[in-house]
Each structure stands twice: as C-alpha cells, then as structure tokens.
Subunit: 368 residues, 2 copies
C-alpha cells in the first residue's frame, strides 16, 4: 500500500483543503491511502476537525508526540508507527514536502517524490464542487455585467471616460468590483481592468484613467469565502468606434473561444486545443510572432483547470494532457499586439461525458 503524505497549511497546499474541506491556519499532518484520508491535528483543532472536516479519521497529534521519548527523534518513530499501523510500503511526498522532516525519515522508511500524484489529485470534480465553481462564476458574471454597464453608461471628455461625474480609472473599477464581490460572499484580489497598452501585457492589472478607442480587458476571479472555490472570467470592451482591424481581432478571439468550447470533450488532448488556437489565429492573420520587444499574438496557454485554486491541473497548453469527464477548465484565448491592443475572452466549462457545459453563461461585451 502506498500512502500520500502532506504536512502543510490548507492555504499553501490546497490538496489538504480538498481532503478535509476545512481551512486550518496552522500546519497539520495528513495521509491518504487509496481513498481514505487521515488527519493528525493539534488539541486546538481536534473537535473542529472531528465535527466539520471530511477526513475519514482524525487523530490527536499530541498522543503521538507524547508517546515518543525525548531521546528518540519524533518523526522517524511516527513514520514507523504509520508504516506498521496502515501496512504502508511506500510514502509518497510532494516536491515541496518540508526538507527537515524528509532528512529525518529518508533512511528510516521507504519514501519517494510523486509530483504528478499531487498535481492531479483535484482534477476530476464532484457535482458538488462544480456547483461551487458555478456559484463563483455567477458572482463573476453579475459583477462583470455591472462593470460593463458602467463603461457603457460612461461619458467621454477629452478621450477619458467618466461615470457618475467622476473619472473612470482601473483602480476605481477594480475597487468597486472587489467590494461588490465581498458583499456577495467572495474574496477577489488582483482584479485586472487594463486599458490600452496595459491590456497588451496579460499580467498587468492596469492602472490610471480609462480611455475611449482602446480595448479594456476585464479579468475577474472571485473566490467563495465559504468553500474556497474560484470562478474565472474575462471580458473585453471598447468604448467608441474600433478600427476594422480591431473588430477583426475581437471577432477572431470570440470565434476562437467558441470553436475551442465546441471541441472540448473527453479524449481530446489539451495540446490539440492549443495548436488549434494558434493555427486558427494564424489563418485569421493574427499569427504569433517574435519581435525585438518580445512576443505578440497568442502569448499564453488557452486555459487551465480551476477549482480550489485559480490555476490548477490541467493546463490547456503545449502538454498532451487528455481531457476527462468531470474536469472544469477555464478557456481563455487572447491576442496581444501593441499596435491594436489586447483582447481576451474567458469562461469556465465543465467537461461532461459527451462535450462540455459553460458554467453560468453571460453577456459577451465588446462595443459598449
């Protein structure tokens, strides 16, 4: 029997949150043998873990601490106890397992690193998990809608957008969206409201005044405070009249996203989707290219798994990962050209037996 081992906080290792569905601020110890999850926690957390977590066994950590004499180091004797108690042949560790514990046990019990096991743990979602992601997507949709309305209803003076008498800045919209999220039970941080040149860099959250005649990328990823599941959604809008080339670029991203979603079903490989998008954009005249200032076009992967973490397995990029029923992935093609601006469109989809379902569909945006 193999046992996967974690010693961490739930915020740093979301597999622990996945095993127990209970947030804990301090590190604790847990193992998983087949589908059985077992936690070893402090006295402070014992009652709460027993009554509220989904661990099948919860043990009082101090019982084992007490048992080990001050002469024998704790970790080796604890791992030997586990080995015997649960008939464990090998302990599987994540790459970031605490080195000081590893150093004490490596010559005592059989251990191995198994990054893939831990990385793929949360890939297949239960219906309840999909329900949580859907809730977060709905909050994201509502608030994105409201933000697009503000830009739609804004007035323009000297090229700058104003709403309700005050200038519209990236920071203002980010702040208003994050406050709205909190009022709807979600924590949202790092919200992107990026106009013009800011939108050409997908990692730039955006700052300063928002202007007409440029793309504004709004990427919003609220996390439900109650369950810690994320939704991830991006819309791109444009105040004023775009050039023909800008219209073509927006339509290309929009069509690419729709075609990707149509192609998603069990058995398709992530890398096929990535290749499809690159080829599609090339055919549309928006090929990826290297310039002296960096890369232009589709410069990131076209998606990623989503759940307890914002970005998790599987990445929809160059790796040939087979898509399976039950995965939930964000699909987010985008195009970035300094001469035109940045456009990205993102929705989360649930992979079913035969295709996929967009979670909480919402308005597309663009010319407002």
């Amino acid at each position: 029997m193999k046992a996967a081992v974690l010693y961490d906080t739930t915020s740093h290792n979301l597999n622990l949150l996945h095993w127990g569905h209970l947030e804990a601020p301090d590190p604790f110890f847990a193992i998983k043998i087949c589908n059985r999850t077992i936690a070893f926690v402090s006295e402070l957390e014992f009652g709460r873990f027993r009554s509220q977590s989904t661990f099948q066994e919860v043990h009082l950590w101090s019982e084992f601490r007490k048992g080990s004499s001050s002469n024998t180091p704790f970790w080796p004797s604890f791992f030997r106890f586990l080995q015997k108690q649960y008939a464990i042949d090998q302990f599987l560790l994540p790459n970031d397992f605490p080195a000081s514990i590893y150093a004490e046990i490596v010559s005592v019990v059989p251990v191995a690193f198994d990054a893939a096991f831990f990385e793929t743990q949360r890939a297949i979602k239960t219906v309840a998990e999909v329900g949580e992601i859907r809730k977060a997507c709905t909050v994201a949709a509502k608030i994105l809608q409201k933000t697009m309305e503000k830009i739609r209803n804004s007035t323009v003076k000297d090229g700058i957008l104003y709403h309700e008498g005050k200038v519209l800045t990236s920071e203002r919209l980010q702040g208003e969206m994050e406050v709205d999220a909190l009022q709807q039970g979600c924590c949202a941080q790092g919200t992107i409201v990026a106009g013009g040149a800011d939108a050409v860099d997908p990692h730039n959250p955006g700052s300063g005044v928002l202007r007409e005649k440029q793309f504004i990328v709004i990427d919003f990823f609220p996390c439900l405070q109650s369950s810690h599941y994320y939704g991830d959604r991006t819309r791109t809008v444009f105040k004023g009249k775009p050039t023909e080339e800008q219209v073509r670029m927006y339509r290309a991203v929009q069509e690419c996203q729709q075609l990707l979603i149509q192609r998603i079903r069990p058995g398709v490989y992530a890398s096929e989707l990535m290749s499809f998008a690159l080829k599609f954009f090339e055919q549309q005249g928006f090929a990826r290219k290297q310039t002296p200032n960096g890369c232009e076009g589709l410069i990131h992967s076209v998606g990623h798994g989503i759940g307890l973490d914002l970005h998790e397995y599987p990445s929809i990029g160059s790796q040939p990962i087979r898509l399976e029923p039950g995965m939930v992935v964000a699909i987010e093609p985008g195009l970035y050209f300094p001469s035109l601006g940045g456009v990205r469109m993102e929705d989360d989809v649930w992979i079913t037996e035969t295709g996929c379902e967009v979670l909480s569909p919402c308005e597309q945006g663009f010319e407002v």
Copy 2:
C-alpha cells in the same frame, strides 16, 4: 561565508517579500549573504524585479537552466555554481525548504537547517516598516471606532441589538468592517465579532445575533494591500449594564494591558511579561484554572510580533525572548470564563530605546 536560501512564493514565505518588497505569485529562488540579497527569477518577472524590487542583484533564472545540459541534473550544478561564485561555505535552509531539491543537493554542497535564522529575520523593523504598520493600525482604529458606534447607537428588543432597523449580527458587522477596510486599501479576513459564549473561545470568529448584557469581542487585523503590513487591534464592548464581576474583569484586562505596555523596553524578556500578566490576573481574582471542560482565564500568550505577517517573531509567551529596540509587538491580554464571557484588549507597540510607543492610539470601548 554562509548563505541563507529560499525557494518559495512570497505569499508562503514572507522573508522573500521582506528581502524584495515585491509580491510574486510564482516560486522563485533567492539567497542572502550577510546583508546582500540576490534573486533568480523567470523572464516574466525579470524586468519587474529589476525595476521594482529591493533585491541587490537580480538574475535571469533561465540563463542557469540553459547552461546545465540535459544529462546533468540542474539543482546540484546550480548550487555548485553559487558556492563558487559567492564563496559560500554553507547553505542555510528553512525547515520547510522543498524536500525534492534538498534531496538532490545534500550530498553535493554543505547544507544545514537553521530555523531560528529565518524565524528572526524580520523581528527588527525599519522606521519605514513601522510607518506601514502604523497606517494599518490607523485603519483598524477608524473602523473599530465606527463599529463601536454602531453598537452604541443600536436599540434593544427582546435582548437583541438592532441598528438602522436591521438586526445586528456578527456576520453583518464582520462584512461591513471588511468592506470598509477594502475601501481604505486594506484586505481584512477572519474578523472576529464574537458575543457571549462565542467570545469565550478566542478562536471563534462569532456568528448569529448580537445581544445586550454580554461582552462582544471585536478583533480586527487589516493588511495594507500596497505593502502587505498588518495592524492588529482588539476592543471589547458591552451593551447594557454589566454585573459588578464583569466590570471587575474588564477593568483587570484593561489595567493589565496598560501595565504590560508600561513594562515594555529593551532588555525585558517576553516570558517576564507573560508571568506578570498571569500573576496580575491571579491577584485580581481571575487566576487561570483547568476545568473538566478546558482551561479558563488567560488561555493564550499576551502578544506576538507583527509586520508582514499577522503573527511573527517574537511571541510574548512562555519563552525567554529578549525584547529589542525596533521590534513591533501586539499586546493582547484577555480573560475567558464561561460564566462571565470573554474580554480582550489589543494594541500594537513599537519598542524604542527607552520604552515603547502605542501605534495610533484609539478609544478603549467597554460600556456602550
């Protein structure tokens, strides 16, 4: 020469944030040799780290990755390069250094775990850091003040508090405080507004309706979004007329906190402060005692360091840690008795050459 080594994200290892003062979502590698900090980052982060971080050297990680051939494992050759380049005799690792990297280098270069080095890294604050903590304390004070006003101005019906026509619950006040914090540039999570029995458990955030004739503990710890420094502050209020015993308990906590703050100066040991508080409460008739249902009285330490983390070195508990000028500590004595309720009073103080200064002093509370 010894080199401290980190490979982590800034959110999980705040020493990385302390070295660079720049948040980074992905793990990166950094070393510190004497007071020289050196970062190795990805292409994506290179420009940002060069221009915005406080690292004295920033290197492009991929340069080293490229250099190592696919036949030789990367980590051993990278550590050997560092050893030679910076004349390093020993690499110091935190206990939670990634085990998979440790396993590759332990037989190649001299390494040692040094938990104390990493734990104490951020203990002495610069004047700029104190300024940030003071800002967070000021936000905490303003919002606590507003919350106390709401309870003061509430009406009572059947023992339950109402404000502006709606029932006052823990969740409502927590939500309102956290939204206020966000509007003032702070992220606040886990806010405690705990009345009655909830307040007797210092870890209970509180839930449900708030009532008259019981202590309400409000513990609020906003974190500045711009710099990630925390403020930590607790007030206890009481709507209606307390019993004599409750008044005595509140006054005991209040006096204890004032006496602790008077005693804080360089050279004093944390454990002396803890002993003082236990003895003081005993003399006041509120001795700590063990009951069949757990511990009553002062059941936690009387304080902790504060900075980039909410709780950091030094703990003001049973350990004999010497207080030094430049430390910033939260001082938070409390008493918890099921028969009376819970009372806690908390402020952050900056240890000076001769004593200490309360950061952004504010109203005390109690009978509202």
